[in-house]
Subunit: 437 residues, 3 copies
């Protein structure tokens, strides 16, 4: 069980907070590329880590991400004119480029040097896989961009969506890491044949957690009644990224997710689906847009999921009785139901009671808290420098019980990925003790 102080440390990411500094030391998703489709097009409001920002694509195609308030008298640059490689404030015409340089102050005297002495707050951006990423940390210490597997692929091989999730980011992150709830929250069944609970051998997993260059590897092992083993391996990548295990047997696309704080009570949830071998096909895109899987179907203007707390996530109590563990349609919306109202927008973890299936969550909390404590001492998280270690897929596969999981893991990552499993992996069992013990 977490202390109340550690719960605050874990969940608060505004300017000046330790965990805010952790997030600001990494490249994080800021918006979808398709939100700023055109050069010189309409600017977009962006909320990130408690900051109000505005994004725009300039005449040269670069995406700028500026503090929303004009440095002059704080009119919102969202109303600004996006023209000739800069955003011009409508109040008095001050104009800024994507890097925050002030290039015009049309009401100041012609010989004024004021504009050379003043800059807008601007954050560097990087577009990859349909997402505009941003770095909000020390401008003199920009880390390399992570080598996400899907950034090596041609257009069409990956597809990114986002949703507004109305809770603290960590509630979603815990769900992404929780390889156990899959057999409850997301279960569909037929009565009376297969019952509302999954078979015993699927419900009671063993956990092995290792620290890795990108964060953690969560290895979940189930001893099947058949004698085989079923492995699910979820990489946690700092600061808040995971790759959800997708069934290899079903040949499903891989799925990356990110939980990015908008503020301490709201977050942006990103999901990227990708295939290494070919473009996503129509059936796969249809499934993504349907909201049946990890992508939510959202309102296109607000990014609020169509199933949400205001409509009780479209729960169907009759369906809950007869064929669905929740009665809520769609995997992502099922997650929202348990995460958005998890004791309110910020879960009081100091009053919870953890079980054996929560070991990955406990380890992740401790990794994140260690990072927050280290930035208070002036040390940035080392994972930010391990860009190549982010090139990963997840794993969900049944195997002969004699095959070591490390072999399965290396094979899954592919021959061209030597960083997939480093020589030395430290077990972090002492981090993962739970209340049930």
């Amino acid at each position: 069980m977490l202390s109340e102080a550690d719960n605050a440390l874990l969940t608060q990411t505004g300017p000046g907070t330790p965990m805010g500094t952790v997030f600001r030391s990494f490249w994080i998703p800021a918006l979808l590329s398709k939100e700023v489709p055109e050069r010189d097009g309409t600017p977009v409001r962006v909320g990130l880590l408690g900051e109000k920002l505005v994004a725009f694509r300039d005449t040269s195609g670069r995406v700028g991400l500026l503090e929303a308030r004009c440095p002059h008298r704080h009119a919102n640059l969202f109303w600004g004119r996006n023209e000739d490689n800069g955003l011009r404030c409508v109040y008095h015409g001050w104009k800024f480029t994507v890097d925050g340089t002030c290039v015009d102050m049309p009401a100041e005297p012609a010989d004024s040097t004021y504009k050379d002495r003043l800059r807008a707050v601007a954050y560097p951006t990087h577009e990859a896989g349909g997402i505009v990423w941003a770095y909000l940390g020390d401008p003199d210490n920009v880390p390399p961009f992570p080598a996400f597997d899907w950034t090596f692929l041609p257009e069409g091989y990956s597809y990114a969506t986002k949703r507004l999730q109305q809770c603290n980011y960590f509630q979603n992150l815990e769900g992404e890491l929780d390889s156990s709830h899959n057999y409850f929250l997301h279960r569909e069944f037929q009565l009376p044949e297969n019952g509302i609970l999954a078979p015993e051998d699927m419900r009671r997993p063993d956990f092995y957690i290792a620290e890795a260059p990108h964060g953690l590897l969560v290895v979940v092992k189930r001893n099947l009644d058949s004698g085989n083993r079923y492995y699910r391996i979820t990489p946690f990548m700092m600061p808040s990224y995971t790759i959800i295990p997708t069934e290899q047997a079903a040949d499903e696309p891989d799925r990356f997710t990110a939980a990015v704080p908008l503020d301490d009570h709201n977050m942006w949830g990103y999901t990227v689906s990708w295939r290494r071998d070919r473009p996503l096909n129509e059936a796969e895109l249809e499934e993504i847009n349907s909201g049946r899987v990890s992508h939510a179907a959202v309102d296109p203007d607000t990014f609020i999921p169509l199933g949400n707390l205001g409509n009780d996530y479209l729960i169907d109590r009759e369906a809950q009785r007869t064929r669905s563990f929740t009665g809520i349609p769609g995997v992502r919306v099922q997650d929202l139901a348990v995460q958005e109202d998890q004791d309110g927008p910020v879960c009081r973890r100091f009053e919870e009671h953890l079980g054996t299936t929560d070991r990955a969550i406990v380890a992740t909390r401790r990794l994140m808290l260690r990072a927050a404590r280290q930035v208070q001492q002036g040390t940035l998280p080392p994972q930010r420098d391990n860009a190549s270690s982010y090139r990963l897929r997840s794993l969900a596969v049944e195997a002969d019980s004699s095959t070591p999981w490390e072999d399965l893991w290396r094979e899954r990552q592919g021959a061209d990925n030597p960083d997939a499993l480093p020589a030395k992996l430290e077990e972090v069992e002492e981090w993962a003790s739970v209340d049930s013990e």
Copy 2:
């Protein structure tokens, strides 16, 4: 006039507050029975005393009232599966019975004793008169259930409704006890014949207040021009129950009311109408559902009254000029208009100016404050143990001036009710001094 500190003591009922402990030492209404009509049916969210709860009727017909958050990682049990005498959390399948026992943790190891060591927070319930009552206090010290008059009657003789009232509970309680405002706020008239003010003899009552085993008796006496006396006697029953005087001459049903804090800015208002002699008839039920009397017509999903602050309580200013003191339709909605916006959701009583008609209110405040101070010393309110004293009707009757009110009162209560007027009743005049003096 109350001090600012006493006003806070009176109005704050969340966990850990003195007045919260007073409320938690009594049986209080939690929801209507008809909100959980079916065994294994849909759970219901319940807000009570600042706590978030969930109610469900189990396979055996018992009503459970659990803390809404699962003890595990705080998913809301409202989404839970109500199945086989228990509520099962959809996140990881933990299952709890109505008394909070954990009967299943399907993802824990088969030999785990964790579920035997963990309980959900559960409160005992008792159904009576169409209401599910709950006791939120010390589980080792449950008081007897009060002998409300209408709990002795067959089905159909009583009828209960509830409404969400958007103010602190004490503003409503004061109104229920205020036997004077009836001749103003609720007055209908004809112009020019009978004028907008009631006759003088009805407007200016005398007050006599006595402490009784259940709380207080408020005896209001009016000397009529005819030489007769008109009595209205309102019992106040701890912690926040009253029986509104109904005209005996009109043979109206009796009416019980309860003001139950949802939180410090919202309350549940319950009204029970009943007859001792026969089932409520169609005309009486029609009047209840019409919202014309003490029952409000409400939205069936939210229990928000149809006349509310958002629509100015449907006030008709022309009607106000010509035939209604307020122009607001319905007795309960008239009450809402003066109570919900009584200097905001929490009236600043430390800035009011009391008159002679406020003696009952002053005495009630002092009784409640005494109870709040006593629980701070570790003594629970004695009224909780006097269950039989709660079996009361109110009184509103014209009588010869030579008849003592005590005789009228005893007769009204009936021969089988020896506790209706105890031998010793202490007058509490010294509690009831007002600013007008």
Copy 3:
């Protein structure tokens, strides 16, 4: 740049605050006369300086402005009966006249003197130019009513409107004083002929600021390429009134504006258009009601402008590209866009960066802060006593460079206005230093 403490001093106007005392020492607009059109008509809720008030026109035609809560037990007098020269509370019938005298307590004993000892909080009002003005300060020290130019005119020569603006009053006041933004925010243009920026000689003005009996005179001078000068003179009149320069060449009506705090996050914006020479004609009234000029088109019930933050001020991004600096229709709505979301409802002025065009704003802040500091010492602002100095028009005119602005100013005010430019005007340049220097 302002300190954080001074920003709070400038923007907080609730009861007991220094700036609240400054506002309470002046006559301020409370509501439009047409909101209380009839004698004995419907009362009106009024929010002013963080206080909740109720206005009503009595049988004699006088407008009362009372604290909304009845002094008895704080029922809202808005529900009251407006009858026979007084407002009667619906809860217990207490009745008050426009000056707060209690004339009836119908439930108190016939010989009670209580009503003679109790008063409602009532503020004096004064109707002028379609506005009900109020004085919320020391009742024993009422200042003379200001001699606004339009109060000397017959009916029909002036027209007043109001709007609810959702930000702190000072953000609007700064906009009214900012004679520079006119050539940016409000600019319409044709492409490619005249470009999106106004000609250089119009964009870069010189400022001269003088202290005057009513507050300040802001003199803005532009040296035109033609050799002429273009002057715009804006009077600032304490506590928050301005007269916007209107083009004399275009023979436009004059325009007075007031920024009146509702609370610290909302304000009432008043605009009065007037002509000295004749009634406003149909074209002028049509322009006022259209929302194209300084008057906003508003919802008639809430006074919320039709273009507002909720609908992105009806911005048309295509129009912004081709013919309008903002793409937002209407001068007032353009102002709202930059003022209502100016770093939120209360601008953090301690983080801004001022330019040379902000001299008037800086001087006004300093004048207001001086007044706030003086009331803390017990000295009321002297401007409140200088009623005759408020009789002013603004000025916006092109002139030969040899003509002194003082001559233009005196001529504009008219022969019957000897107070238009006092003998001694103190320059306040030392108050107006900006960050750009």
